[in-house]
């Protein structure tokens, strides 16, 4: 049996909503500035890191180590000509960058930065606010961002933008399902949707008594719910349109995707900003859900003061930097996937695996809760396994049959058309002409030959 230990306890839902307005304002301004600076230096970090991974220097002209590169880029964007193509829907074109940027910022408002601290004499949690449905709020804000993508593509009235917008939004909503499903297991264990309480729930893992020994269980959900975490990592790459799922920016085929018509002015800067803020948000959510939030990692956690006062903000920031570097690492390592592969991964692999994992986790947990009535649960589990097996078998056989039919059809067609110079009425050049093999034929003969062939074909 497990027994819960009393660990370092942070604020819970009851501690929120008591701040005076000016404390809330300070926190809101802090989050805003944190995200803005985070984007500026995040872009620099990414470019610098990816350059080093590719054996080059990266930006090194503006400021020391090129640190001011993003500031220079931002200023340049401000001084660029702001183009508005004649054909665009003006209102939508104007609103889309705003619609995409605002929810990106809002999603960060429920991220826990640390425990209770004293701020100008007021005891307050290091978190802007917390809701009973905090994680749902993040997902809702992510969905709001999709409106920005769709409207930007739709309002631009250009084929590239429209296709890019549709692709992007289809990708984001597909991966959002898998992302939301991967978090269910966390809620099963934490018993709440509030972020501060999820962090608290990861404070102490409890102990496992076996044969007189007491083994401390790991407290972070990344250990207990590792499959959930893996699914979350894949979906967070898909959700933020990052490599290897950066199809919307497949510049080889769609130019810039949904923001093709936004010339490099401040409007484009909003899209850039939203993309990076979204990266920070999904990283922060990963840290909160799976890595104990602001709690100190193991060697530091031995120090008593590690989880008190302002220190946790440092641990949180360190975890955020590591998560960001992971994004960059992935970008430097992986090639882009194809669109059908992307959708197949999301719909045919991640969603069923998440659902199966949820059922498994819930079954194990129910077993632990009920204790006695194991046969019923086991029988149910057996039924589920059998049903899945039968379904898979039916799928597999029908797919094999279809594949065989198709192959037979292709073979039959090939056999029929192999000897026809004009395959099925389409003019197809013969594939073994001498000049294909570097043999120069005499022009007169070739001309006579071709004449013969054409006259034959006419007959």
């Amino acid at each position: 049996m497990t027994t819960m230990l009393a660990g370092p306890i942070g604020p819970s839902l009851a501690d929120f909503g008591k701040d005076p307005w000016w404390i809330s304002l300070i926190k809101a301004v802090f989050i805003f500035v944190f995200l803005m600076l985070g984007v500026l230096f995040g872009v620099w970090t990414e470019r610098k890191l990816i350059s080093r991974m590719q054996n080059r220097y990266g930006p090194n002209r503006a400021g020391k180590f090129g640190l001011l590169q993003s500031v220079a880029d931002g200023l340049k964007m401000g001084l660029k000509e702001d183009l508005m193509p004649r054909t665009v829907d003006r209102v939508v074109f104007f609103l889309a960058p705003v619609i995409i940027a605002v929810p990106a910022f809002l999603a960060f408002s429920i991220v826990p930065f640390g425990p209770m601290v004293s701020m100008f004499g007021v005891q307050t949690p290091l978190q802007l606010t917390d809701l009973p449905v905090a994680v749902l709020f993040v997902l809702a804000m992510a969905s709001m961002g999709v409106y920005g993508i769709v409207l930007a593509g739709w309002g631009s009235r250009s084929p590239y933008a429209l296709l890019g917008g549709l692709r992007s939004s289809a990708q984001v909503i597909s991966y959002e399902i898998a992302m939301a499903l991967s978090l269910v297991a966390v809620f099963l264990f934490a018993g709440t949707l509030s972020t501060s309480e999820i962090v608290n729930a990861q404070a102490a893992g409890g102990t496992w008594e076996i044969g007189g020994l007491s083994i401390p269980l790991p407290s972070w959900y990344v250990v207990m719910l590792f499959p959930s975490f893996l699914i979350y990592v894949v979906t967070m790459l898909g959700e933020t349109n990052r490599v290897p799922f950066d199809l919307p920016e497949g510049e080889g085929e769609l130019v810039g995707g949904f923001h093709t018509e936004y010339s490099s002015s401040l409007k484009f800067a909003m899209f850039m900003l939203a993309e990076y803020v979204n990266m920070f948000t999904v990283s922060a959510l990963a840290i909160t859900m799976f890595f104990g939030g602001w709690q100190a990692p193991w060697p530091i956690s031995l120090w008593d003061g590690a989880n008190t006062g302002w220190w946790p903000m440092l641990w949180f920031f360190g975890k955020l930097v590591i998560a960001f570097c992971f994004f960059v690492w992935v970008r430097a390592s992986l090639p882009r996937v194809r669109y059908d592969q992307l959708m197949a991964l999301g719909w045919k692999l991640l969603i069923p695996i998440s659902l199966a994992w949820i059922v498994l986790v819930a079954t194990v947990r129910a077993l632990r809760l009920e204790g006695g009535d194991r046969t019923l649960v086991m029988a149910m589990l057996g039924v589920i396994v059998v049903v899945i097996g039968v379904l898979y078998y039916a799928f597999d056989t029908s797919r094999e049959r279809k594949k065989k039919d198709q192959q037979a059809q292709v073979r039959e067609e090939f056999a029929r058309l192999r000897n026809e110079p004009t395959a099925g009425g389409f003019p197809v050049p013969p594939l073994d002409l001498p000049h294909y093999h570097g043999v120069s034929s005499r022009p007169a003969v070739t001309r006579a030959d071709s004449k013969e062939v054409t006259s034959e074909a006419k007959v």
């Binding site: 910022f105 939301a180 401040l266």
Partner: protein
């Protein structure tokens, strides 16, 4: 409701910043008129005329959106179930498995009818 007030403050900040940036963009840059610049960008070729109010788009995207709604509703039922799981116990588990299986039937049907394939 007090819980939502700080979000409102942040929303005002973010919206103010975003609207200011987007609104100021036409005034900070130069404006040199050029007919080609005001066309939709299609890699230099003459832009394809787009119908007013948006053109057609592949139906696949609509199907994806519909499937998204189905699964989103499933998630909406899963979340409260997961939060209250310890109180519901085995009964909740059986109910939820029945629900998931029901959705999976629809899912298998869509898969079978190639609704999840992109060609």
């Amino acid at each position: 409701m007090e819980l939502y007030v700080p979000i409102l403050i942040l929303a005002v900040l973010a919206a103010g910043f975003a609207i200011f940036s987007v609104g100021i963009a036409p005034f900070t840059g130069p404006a040199r008129w050029n007919r080609a610049k005001l066309d939709a960008y299609e890699c230099g070729i003459e832009p394809t005329p787009q119908p007013v109010g948006g053109g057609r788009f592949p139906l696949k995207y609509m199907i994806t959106a519909m499937l998204f709604i189905v699964f989103d509703i499933e998630i909406i039922f899963l979340y409260p179930w997961a939060v209250a799981f310890d109180q519901l116990g085995l009964f909740g588990l059986v109910e939820m498995v029945l629900f998931i299986v029901t959705v999976l039937v629809a899912y298998a049907y869509v898969w079978r009818r190639r609704g999840l394939d992109w060609d």
